[in-house]
């Protein structure tokens, strides 16, 4: 659990832990969620996740996002300091019925995931014209 910012210090005390030997609890990535007339956009910071290790699942009205964080490590590696102590990202959201879960789009670029959940076409807000009598 204990980590040290001062790398030289931790070397002397030998208190470092191997990167891989850590209990796996998922990281909840920081997200931005905003709504436009067409749908909901969700942007999540998931550094270290590649397309192959990202999974989005819409089941019923729940959207679950899971990603595996990967970075090059070698066997002989010793962790000296760690802000990030898990290799799994996970978050889930309950969607409402006007959202169209069959047309969700997702783009992953430089560790940033952008998810667009459109509103059902028939349920998008319509502007109602006021007719003069």
């Amino acid at each position: 659990m204990a980590t040290q910012q001062d790398v030289s210090q931790s070397q002397k005390s030998g208190a470092a832990h191997p990167v891989t030997q850590r209990a796996e609890s998922a990281i909840r990535p920081p997200v931005d969620v905003f709504e436009t007339a067409d749908g909901i956009n969700l942007i999540a910071d998931m550094p270290g996740v590649s397309k192959e290790h990202l999974e989005l699942q819409a089941e019923g009205n729940t959207l679950t996002i899971e990603g595996k964080l990967q970075f090059d490590m070698s066997e002989q590696m010793e962790a000296l300091y760690a802000d990030v102590r898990s290799t799994l990202y996970r978050c889930s959201f309950v969607l409402s019925s006007e959202l169209d879960t069959s047309h969700i789009e997702a783009i992953l670029k430089d560790g940033v995931l952008t998810v667009r959940i459109p509103k059902r076409a028939e349920l998008r807000p319509r502007r109602i014209e006021v007719q003069s009598a």
Partner: protein, 150 residues
Amino acid sequence: MFEGLWGYEHPLSSQFRRLEEEFDALFGAGTSLTGTRNIRSLPAGTFPAVNVASTPQAIMVYVFAPGLDAKSLDISIQQNLLSIAGAREIPRDENATYYRQERFSGEFRRTISLPDDADQARVEAKYVNGILTITVGRRESAKPRQIEVR
């Protein structure tokens, strides 16, 4: 209408997270076993997160900085201090309704003190999937040597 998007979590999970953050603040990130923090350490949750590891040949610094233009990063090394500075501006859609804005926006700088044997002349950096990996070589003399008994 979109209450669901406010978060699908167990009511206790935020309590647990707070507990975890407090634990981190007390004993975790940037804190040694004796509870002494490095003078340049930053509070938990600071962007970008950093991991540091070492091998017999090199010191590896992983900077978790997604969504950046790698060329705009300013990486410098002086004495044994490695510093990484940059900015991530997140454009805001004026016509949208925001429910959550947790992602970092603005300028950042992190300074990491490296071990004494860090070789300033051998530094490499690459940016893949939002992680900036900086490899700093270690000086020959510091590598463990096998001593033969005659």
